[in-house]
Structures are given as structure tokens and as C-alpha cells.
């Protein structure tokens, strides 16, 4: 499903439908401290608290790690360095709505009928993410 094409739900039945379609899909949930949680969406409520199952935590490299990597990498001269995010398994988590900065839903490109699959592959994967520093 192309979520970009969906209208923002306004009425309650629409909203519930929208949330229902997301159930059991893999979400990437960003939090205020810069982490990302990747897990299967199980439950939400009016405060946007999210329950995710089989969750992995992804953490961007710390500043020290970035500097270290930058020092060794020629690319860094151009102000860009590619690093892995560190990840670990957490299992079942609740992400309180007040800490959520971003919610993304994953779809298989093969199941999208439009030309979205041609999108540039700058999407983060589950284990790698490009981090730009300036």
C-alpha cells in the first residue's frame, strides 16, 4: 500500500481503519533521544503509545565513534561518513507517545503497484543506516 497517497484520517472510523491496516506491520519508531525501534506493531491508544513486538533497538553511533571513524576515512573529507547503527534485541516494548518523533511503516516494494519501487535506495535498512555529519 502506498501510504503517501492516503488522506490524513479525520473521522473516527477512518482513523480506526487506518490504524488497523498498520497492525502487525513492521514499524520504525524514532524517539527523542535519537534511537530507533524496529518491531511489529501490536497496539496503540489515544496518547499514541505504541506496543511493538520482537523489537530491535538501533542507536546511531556516538559522537566519539563518529569522530574516530571520520579520522580514518578519506570520505570524511567530503563531510560524509558511512557507519553502521548498533543494534540489539529487546523483545516486547512500549514506546510512550510523548517520546515518539517519527513513525515509519515498512512495505515490500514488490507489493506496491506503482513506481515506488524505483525510489532511490537511500532508505535505512534494519541493520545499516547512513549517517551524515557536516
Amino acid at each position: 500500500m502506498n501510504y503517501d497517497a492516503l488522506p490524513t484520517p479525520t473521522s473516527k472510523p477512518e482513523a480506526t481503519d487506518f490504524l488497523q491496516t498498520l497492525l502487525n506491520k513492521n514499524l520504525r519508531v524514532g524517539t527523542t533521544d535519537g534511537r530507533m525501534f524496529w518491531g511489529s506493531f501490536k497496539c496503540t491508544d489515544s496518547d499514541c503509545n505504541l506496543v511493538l513486538q520482537h523489537t530491535y533497538e538501533y542507536r546511531p553511533p556516538s559522537l566519539a565513534q563518529l569522530q574516530e571513524a571520520a579520522a580514518q576515512d578519506d570520505e570524511a573529507q567530503k563531510g560524509k561518513v558511512v557507519m553502521d547503527m548498533t543494534s540489539r534485541y529487546l523483545g516486547l516494548v512500549v514506546v510512550p507517545g510523548k517520546y515518539i518523533t517519527k513513525i515509519e511503516v515498512e512495505e515490500f516494494a514488490s507489493q506496491l503497484k506503482d513506481t515506488l519501487s524505483e525510489r532511490k535506495q537511500h532508505q535505512p535498512t534494519q541493520s545499516k543506516m547512513n549517517v551524515e555529519i557536516s
Binding site: N2, Y3, D4, T8, P9, T10, K12, A15, T16, F18, L19, Q20, L23, N26, R28, T31, D33, R35, K42, C43, T44, D45, S46, D47, C48, V51, Q53, Y56, E57, R59, S62, A64, Q65, R88, Y89, L90, G91, L92, V93, V94, V95, P96, I100, T101, K102, I103, E104, V105, E106, E107, F108, A109, S117, R119, Q121, Q123, P124, T125, Q126, S127
Partner: protein, 739 residues
């Protein structure tokens, strides 16, 4: 995790829509997956809650360790770090998870993460590898090789424990949080590293002083010996050679403890922050800190147990092995660590070969011969050689094999059960008795087939002058054997209940009564077995009896004597305590707490539940139990007098027991521990005697009608007093001023 590459997955940002949609929900309304229950979500980790989310950082806090592993270390600091690691290592052996113990160390963390592919990479300073300038700080090399040895030890121990029966999180936590504990490195390579470090320390001893060099050397030696001990333990061969590294560790441990003052602690090298990078659903937990003294004590015990457990390999007879070696070893206080218990299990059962050299049949036949069938043709190995199916010996071999197949597992399960922690032993035995109940029934069928094959003549038992009208009975050896085990298991269940403080003070008398009943049943059974064995011995003597057969009969006689003596001591002591508690209850010195929501009868049913399903001996009814425990027909003075007499009998029995030799008491290889148990019982009997005398005297002084405090006595009932046998809970009595 799902598809690991970019291809084929597209992510849409739905933040706005999601928030808008969630905003339309009522307070408390949920959108959830139908298969997901809120009950499950109770166990969810709440992100950003510092108490639950180990990844949550305080504002401005960095995930990185501030600690610089590359900084130079003094020898004192290395000793300090190693000694701290020893404390954590012991905490892990005791059952705390690695995340709260060894994996809180920054050096170990850096060595293991990212996972090293070569041994050179297994270093906390990895930059060195890139530039060709190997780290030449000798103290780094020492600490690294120590850690290599330590981690490899942990890997082995974790692996061995997982292989045997244990209770995860109850006994031990095997979780390594996705860290590989040098799984793929050869122990020889690691040994070489440690040896190199030992040489290095030796070569710089002038620079760092002899004292410090020695202290470091001892610590490295401990690791070499530990790895050696673990490697050797799979051999299960002769205990003398296996015990060498353990003895070495025991000696070097003293030296390590005595040089602990040289160390300088480096608390910064340990941090719970590392937990944030471990694959764990656990909230952050503090580092477990054992004191140096405790660590010293536990390691010392570990090494002593490590040496002692090897003695199990010296098999002498089946009874020494089970009831004495395994039971006394396991009843030590504190109980041996789970690793030692794992060793015991692997010695006993690994690959279904008992102690690395005996078949299960060997041990089982040995036991049958000892208990019920000395020098019997039922156990004659020659039976197996007969191939003609119509030959009676062929039938014997066949039936006996059926029996062995039926009984072997139940028999081995007793050993296995006794290798667990104390609570689990009792719990497992409660299940085992059901199993033995059916073993006994099946055995009786086989007995009946066998008695025809060997043309056994039934005898009148119990023997009387006037045999008229009394049906003679058969010896039923196999079912007698099974019944004996069942009775012993039942006694152990009751006795472990005392040890584990399961019974309330006002229940103790009743449980001792039941124990006494069980012990009497055992004595009666043993008497019957002895009768038939004696008879068979006499009739076989008429034919020519070889010396081996004589010896088998003698051994069996010794065993039956020892077990009936033990049964007699048990019931006398139990009777004494029953009478004493009945008297104390009546005098208001042991008072039952108010229990408004149940009746005595219902509680009896629940308490006796494990025994309820047993047909023989049948569980006494509530009325019988009540009559037997409150002993209403006897006056209090009489109860105390009965208790005194029983204690005298028990005392006499124990004196005889204490004079038995190692072989007569069936405690070969564990005689000291066994004798310790007898002495513990003696001490319990002695003190019980004193208690009875005190109560008697007060009763005479103050008069029969006085109750509780008026008697000038205070009674405390808890668990067995230290030094006394833990199966005998003798009350503490204190004389007080009457107000």
C-alpha cells in the same frame, strides 16, 4: 530479523497521519491486534523509563565508556582488576547473570565486542593491529591473557552446565547476551598466551619487584590450572590424576588471597553501562558485589568440592554411591556450586555410562544383589549365554532384562534428582514415588513369573510355631526392592521437608509421627527380606557354596542390618520428637497461629498430597493422624517420659551406628561426611534429651495445670540448630522469669 538488505523494502513516513488517527481515539480506547492480549504487554519494557529501559540515557550522558582501555596500567592496578574479576566470577557461579558480573568489565567487553576473528584480535586495544606496533605494555599483555583464560573458562563451564540438568535462573544463568565467549578459539592457543604472560612477568620481576611479579604469577597460574581441571574432567578416569589441577588451584588460591593487599582497585573499569549494548530484555541491574572474604570462602569451597567430587569415580558398591556419596555430598551446607553438581552428573551419567566405566546394568545388578538377591541365580550373568528358548535360564535372563528395562530409568532418576538443588530434590522425589509405585506393581508381576521358573518354595512369614491355616508366601524379591526404594523416597521427602522448613511449628509433631510410621514400614520390610535371604542362604549352603557367594550373603546381611538400624534410629527419634511436640503443644508452648480460612483436616489433605496417590503404605486417615498426634489418652508427664525413653533408644542405636566401619556402613569414599551426619544426629538427640528434662522439671515445679509463660519457659522452633542434623528440628528452650 527480516530482509537484511535494502532491496525490496520501502518505508513510508506516517508520523502525522498516525498521530492524527490516534488522536481520534477515546481515552482508554485501544486499537490492537486480536491475538495480542494486554496481559502480555505487562511484561513489555517501557522505553525511556530509566528503571526499565537499559538504553535510556540521562540528558547529556553518552553511551560511550569514558574509560580509556589504552591507558597504562601499574602492576598494582592489574592485580586490583583481576581480584575484582574474581569476585564477579564467583557471583556468576553462584547464579547471577553475566550482565551483572563479568560483562560489566570494560576490558572484557572490548575484547569480545566486536567479535574477534583471530586470537590477536581478542584484545581490548585493537588499534595496535593496524599500525604494526604491537602493544608492548607488559601489564596490558598480562591482563589480556588473564581475561582470555577467564573467558574461556566461562565458556567451558557454561557449556557443561547447559549439557546437564539444572534450573535456568534458579540455579544458574547461562545467557551470554549474544556475546561469544571465545567459543571458537582453541584452549591450547589460550594456554600459550597465558604461559607467555607468565614468562613475561618473570622477565620483568626486577623492574616491578618480586612481590608483585609473584602475585601476578599466582593469578595467571590459577587460570592455567582451572582450564586444565576443566579439560581433564571429561576423562572420568582416575581421580588422582584429575585432582592435580584442583589441588594446585587450592594451594595457589591461598597465595592469591594473601597477596590481595597489593592490588589497587580500579572501579572505573567496571560499569553497568555495558548492559545497554547487551541483547537483553532485562531492565538495567546493578553490579553484584561479593566481598573479598566471601569470594575467598566460596572459591576455597569450590576447589575442595572439586577435589572431593572426583572420589565418586572410585566405585565400591551401589549403596555407597547413592545414598552415601551422592546424598552426603549434596547435603553439605552450603551446597556445592552448580558447576560441581554438573560435574557430578556428568561423572554419573554421561553417555549412559556410569562413572565412565560401568554399565547401568552393572550398578543395578549390584544393588539388587546387595538388597534382595545375594548370590542368586536370577542375577547370574551365565543366564545370558543360554540361547535355547525353552531352557529355564533363557526365560530368567529374558524376564530379568524386562525388569531392568522397567526399573533402570526410575533408579537412575533418584541419582539425577539428588544432583539438583535441595528444593528441587524434594519436588522431584514427590513425582518419583508415583513412578516407583508402578515399578513395584510391575516388579511383582515379574516376581510371580520368576518364582515359577526357579521353582521357589513359599514360606510362612512371619514365622510362627503353629503354621496351620497360614498361607505361605513367596519372597517377591524385585517388588520388595522397589518397595524399599519407595519407602526410602517417602522418608526423604518428609525429612527434606524439615530441612527446607516447609512445616509450621505446630505441624512438626505430626510429620514426625508420619516419618516414624514410614520408618517402621521400612523396618518391617527389611525384616521380611532378611528372613527370605537367610532361608535361601541356608538352603544354598546345603549345596556347595562358593566363597564369592558367601561374601555376597555377608555383604547383603551387613546392608540389611545397617538399614534396619537406621530405620530404628529414625523411628525412635521421630517418636521422641512427636511426644515432645505433643507435650509442648498441650502446654501452650508451641501455639498454632490463627487460621480462620481452613480446617485442620483440609490442611492435612494438602500437606499429605504427594502421598495421597500411594497405595502402599496407605496414607493414614485424618482421624488416625489426629489421634496419633494429640495423644489425648496420655498425660503430659507420660509423654515426656516416653520421649526420654525413645531418645535413649536412639542414642544406643547411634552409638552402634557410629562404630560401623566404612564398608559396613556403605559409605566408602564418603565415610567422613557420613560419620559427620551420624554425629549431627547424636547432637540432636543429646539436646532433645536436655529439652525434655527441662520441660519435665518445670512441669513438676509449677504444676500440671500451668500453661505457656506461667511455666517459666520460652520455646523457639525454627530449623535444625547448626551442628545438629538438619532433618531433626529440636526446639530451643529457654527458662524465663515468671512475671
Amino acid at each position: 530479523m527480516g530482509g537484511n538488505n535494502n532491496d525490496g523494502i520501502v518505508a513510508f513516513d506516517v508520523t502525522k497521519k498516525f498521530r492524527a488517527a490516534a488522536g481520534t481515539l477515546e481515552l482508554g480506547e485501544l486499537v490492537k491486534d486480536g491475538f495480542f492480549s494486554l496481559f502480555e504487554s505487562v511484561g513489555a519494557l517501557e522505553i525511556m523509563d530509566p528503571k526499565m529501559d537499559s538504553g535510556c540515557l540521562a540528558p547529556g550522558e553518552s553511551l560511550d565508556e569514558d574509560y580509556d582501555v589504552g591507558r597504562g596500567l601499574s602492576p598494582e592496578e592489574v592485580i586490583g582488576i583481576i581480584d575484582q574479576l574474581l569476585c564477579l566470577e564467583m557471583a556468576w557461579y553462584q547464579g547471577y547473570p553475566l550482565s551483572q558480573t563479568l560483562l560489566t568489565n570494560v576490558y572484557i567487553d572490548r575484547m569480545l565486542e566486536p567479535e574477534p576473528m583471530t586470537l590477536e584480535e581478542a584484545d581490548f586495544i585493537r588499534d595496535n593491529l593496524k599500525g604494526d606496533q604491537r602493544n608492548d605494555d607488559p601489564m596490558h599483555a598480562v591482563l589480556r591473557s588473564y581475561c582470555l583464560g577467564l573467558i574461556k573458562c566461562c565458556w567451558y563451564i557454561n557449556d557443561r552446565i547447559k549439557y546437564e540438568h539444572y534450573y535456568e535462573e534458579e540455579d544458574f544463568v547461562t545467557n551470554t547476551y549474544h556475546r561469544s565467549l571465545l567459543d571458537n578459539f582453541d584452549v591450547d592457543e589460550i594456554n600459550n598466551e597465558i604461559m607467555a604472560a607468565r614468562k613475561l612477568v618473570h622477565s620483568i620481576r626486577h623492574r616491578i619487584t618480586d612481590e608483585l611479579a609473584q602475585a601476578l604469577g599466582f593469578r595467571l597460574e590459577l587460570r592455567t590450572a582451572f582450564l586444565r581441571a576443566i579439560e581433564l574432567s571429561v576423562m572420568r578416569s582416575n581421580p588422582e590424576s584429575l585432582s592435580l589441577p584442583w589441588t594446585q588451584m587450592k594451594a595457589v588460591w591461598e597465595a592469591i588471597y594473601n597477596s590481595r593487599h597489593l592490588g589497587q582497585s580500579v572501579p572505573e573499569a567496571f560499569s553497568t553501562k555495558i548492559q545497554r549494548r547487551l541483547a537483553s530484555t532485562m531492565p538495567p541491574r546493578p553490579i553484584v558485589k561479593l566481598s573479598t572474604e566471601e569470594t575467598y570462602k566460596h572459591f576455597k569451597k569450590l576447589f575442595v568440592d572439586g577435589i572431593n567430587v572426583l572420589n565418586v569415580l572410585n566405585y565400591h558398591d551401589s549403596q555407597s554411591l547413592l545414598q552415601n556419596f551422592v546424598m552426603t555430598f549434596q547435603s553439605q551446607k552450603p551446597q556445592p556450586l552448580v558447576y560441581i553438581r554438573t560435574l557430578l552428573q556428568s561423572f554419573l551419567f554421561k553417555d549412559m555410562i556410569i562413572l565412565g566405566k560401568l554399565s547401568i546394568r552393572h550398578v543395578l545388578d549390584d544393588d539388587l544383589s546387595l538388597v534382595v538377591l545375594p548370590a542368586s541365580k536370577l542375577l547370574d550373568p551365565a543366564n545370558d549365554l543360554v540361547e535355547a528358548p525353552h531352557h529355564p535360564r533363557y526365560a530368567l535372563a529374558h524376564q530379568m532384562e524386562l525388569f531392568r528395562q522397567r526399573a533402570a530409568q526410575s533408579y537412575l532418576d533418584i541419582f539425577r534428582a539428588f544432583c539438583q538443588n535441595r528444593c528441587r530434590i524434594r519436588r522431584t522425589l514427590c513425582h518419583s514415588i508415583q513412578d516407583w509405585e508402578t515399578v513395584q506393581v510391575d516388579a511383582e508381576e515379574i516376581d510371580q513369573l520368576l518364582q515359577i521358573q526357579i521353582d521357589e518354595r513359599p514360606l510362612v512369614y512371619p514365622p510362627t510355631e503353629d503354621t496351620e491355616g497360614i498361607e505361605p508366601t513367596f519372597s517377591l524379591p524385585l517388588s520388595s526392592w522397589a518397595y524399599l526404594y519407595k519407602l526410602r523416597l517417602m522418608e526423604w521427602i518428609v525429612q527434606l521437608g524439615f530441612e527446607l522448613e516447609i512445616y509450621a511449628p505446630d505441624e512438626l509433631g505430626g510429620m514426625y509421627w508420619y516419618l516414624s510410621e514410614l520408618a517402621r514400614s521400612r523396618a518391617r520390610l527389611v525384616d521380611r527380606i532378611s528372613f527370605f535371604t537367610k532361608h535361601r542362604a541356608a538352603s544354598q549352603q546345603e549345596n556347595e557354596n562358593t566363597s564369592a557367594q558367601e561374601a555376597a550373603f555377608t555383604r547383603s546381611r551387613h546392608y540389611l542390618y545397617q538399614t534396619s538400624l537406621d530405620a530404628a534410629i529414625t523411628w525412635e527419634m521421630a517418636d521422641a520428637l512427636l511426644n515432645l511436640y505433643a507435650a509442648l503443644g498441650r502446654l501452650g508452648l508451641v501455639v498454632a497461629p490463627p487460621r480462620p480460612y481452613s480446617t485442620d483436616e483440609m490442611r492435612y489433605d494438602v500437606r499429605m498430597k504427594p502421598f495421597g496417590a500411594i497405595g502402599l503404605p496407605e496414607l493414614p486417615s485424618w482421624e488416625e493422624y489426629r489421634a496419633a498426634t494429640d495423644r489425648r489418652q496420655k498425660e503430659t508427664g507420660r509423654l515426656l517420659e516416653d520421649a526420654r525413653l525413645s531418645l535413649e533408644q536412639a542414642q544406643r542405636g547411634l552409638e552402634v551406628m557410629g562404630r560401623l566401619t566404612e564398608k559396613e556402613s556403605f559409605s566408602v569414599g564418603c565415610f567422613e561426611r557420613w560419620l559427620g551426619g551420624v554425629k549431627g544426629q547424636m547432637r540432636a538427640v543429646e539436646r532433645a534429651g536436655v529439652v525434655v528434662e527441662v520441660v519435665k522439671r518445670k512441669l513438676q515445679e509449677k504444676g500440671e495445670d500451668k500453661k505457656g509463660k506461667e511455666l517459666g519457659l520460652r520455646v523457639e522452633v525454627g530449623k535444625a540448630v547448626e551442628g545438629e542434623h538438619e532433618w531433626w528440628v529440636v526446639p530451643m528452650v529457654e527458662e524465663i522469669e515468671v512475671a
